[in-house]
Symmetry: C2
Subunit: 299 residues, 2 copies
């Protein structure tokens, strides 16, 4: 347990880098803006050179990415619309800048999920979902103890949900799908729908009930599709803690007793929960991705 | 490869039992109505005694079921509304009647998925979905090479989808959720909506376009949630082969280029497909569940 690991939470706005071994042992941390790949990745390499050496580095990245270790473009950010970052060999460039050390690489949300499994709100589970509700919406998790990839990787923010235009005439924020889950329930959608930023809306504003309604519809779909043992909800929007009791109640109402599990029927307060690692889920998840390359955590 | 295996496709209407080793080696088959647990399970045991001995038996069952081998109620049909079958130890009763041989047990759709992976349209894949669209709608598959269970097991027929009441005023067939996926798109829903059985509707009836629309919405949600490498669609409704090209085109339209994979953008004819094992997917899947107890197929 003496080896140090590096983690990069690679976001479209900022990179968060850390060196350490876990939540109680972060030895250094640095945050900087995401500019060009050359400059930003260079800053990350400098940070690890300064605070290392690290045995391996984990990268939990914005996407879409290629998280398949058997693929020729493993470690790449692939078709992102973010200018300059399409087809960027993020994992390879970081590794090369650090004398070729091994790297772990996955989506930001799969990384955060792995961190929650190691040290946070998903310890001991083999199938759960981690959602982030913020500027965008993404989802990851574990299924039978493994990070889900499949064809590419999940894009849980883009499922389609019912919307009643008489209740909610807002047609959605997503440039691809309009009123998909992200289009209806991400932070900017709340702002556009109500004409003011989400964090300025009063506690009793109808925005919260509608937001909880869409979140609950999405959760019901994920429950029916993946049967998770728990759902962790993070991200800026979920800082509004009043959403949790509303979402829990609406999930129960929508499922209407169909999924006969005490976890949902009686213990929903511990079924739909905030991240155990709070805002550190991202970079700790990245460290966990780095550790996973060297050790084997598989259930 | 000389051992014989038994398979039970346990449906709410009928049981299909078979003894064999795979699709080219079914040595005996019998079908009988699902009446009481005692009578029906007794008939299955008689069949295997007559045509065995079998090394193990696999059971792919209607549900909800308990497919978790570590659970005290593994092998049970749990909370089914079917009269007399709630809390039935199906796996245990079959095994006990056959001198305690090992049994595999899962949902009907996870069983069918396993059969398709062994011998059918999902060979070589590690993450895919098998859907049945018939009297009800169910979904199973593999995720990273393992059958998904989680809290209980997936109930993919009960995700919520958008419905425009101006286009489709039918409020749905599901007694729990009204217009969930199953409520909108199962065979009885088609019959109720249009006032005649699905298999009597003309080729150019608008029913097919609307049915394909709901199927495509559901597929998009499963693609975004699980990122399957392929989707297999079976069941009575999918016997209407005209649905496949409609569904493929609508999935592409709804995704709108968001999932940048050639499998979806260019090769969708081999991405959304009928079962390779046809109507035998169910009982062959059950045999595969039986084989899996003895061998280890895990990827």
């Amino acid at each position: 347990m003496t080896q140090l690991y590096g983690g990069i939470e690679a976001g479209g706005t900022k990179f968060v880098c850390a060196v350490g071994r876990g939540p109680d042992d972060i030895q250094a941390e640095r945050r900087f803006a995401t500019t060009t790949p050359g400059e930003t990745i260079g800053q990350a390499i400098d940070f690890f050179r300064e605070h290392g050496p690290v045995t391996a580095v984990g990268i939990a990245s914005f996407g879409p990415v290629d998280p398949n270790p058997r693929s020729a473009t493993f470690g790449y950010i692939t078709t992102t619309p973010k200018p300059g970052w399409g087809n960027t060999n993020l994992g390879g460039m970081v590794s090369e800048g650090l004398d070729g050390i091994p790297f772990g690489f996955d989506t930001d949300v799969n990384g955060a999920a792995l961190g929650e499994w190691r040290w946070g709100a998903a310890q001991g589970l083999d199938t759960f979902i981690y959602l982030t509700i913020g500027t965008g919406i993404g989802g990851g998790g574990l299924v039978n103890g493994r990070l889900p990839h499949g064809l590419i990787h999940p894009e849980m923010g883009h499922i389609r949900l019912p919307r009643d235009p008489q209740v909610d005439p807002y047609t959605g924020h997503c440039p691809y799908h309009g009123d998909c889950f992200e289009g209806l329930a991400c932070g900017p959608a709340i702002g556009e729908r109500w004409g003011q930023a989400a964090d300025r809306l009063a506690d009793d504003h109808p925005a919260w009930d509608l937001e909880a309604h869409y979140l609950a519809l999405a959760l019901v779909n994920f429950i029916c599709t993946l049967s998770p043992q728990r759902i962790i909800m993070g991200g800026g929007v979920m800082e509004q803690k009043r959403l949790f009791p509303l979402v829990r109640q609406k999930v129960q109402g929508l499922l209407n007793g169909y999924v006969q599990s005490p976890k949902i029927l009686q213990e929903i307060d511990s079924y739909i929960v905030p991240p155990g690692l709070g805002a550190y889920a991202g970079v700790l998840g990245a460290i966990a991705l780095g550790q996973q390359v060297v050790r084997n955590y598989e259930l």
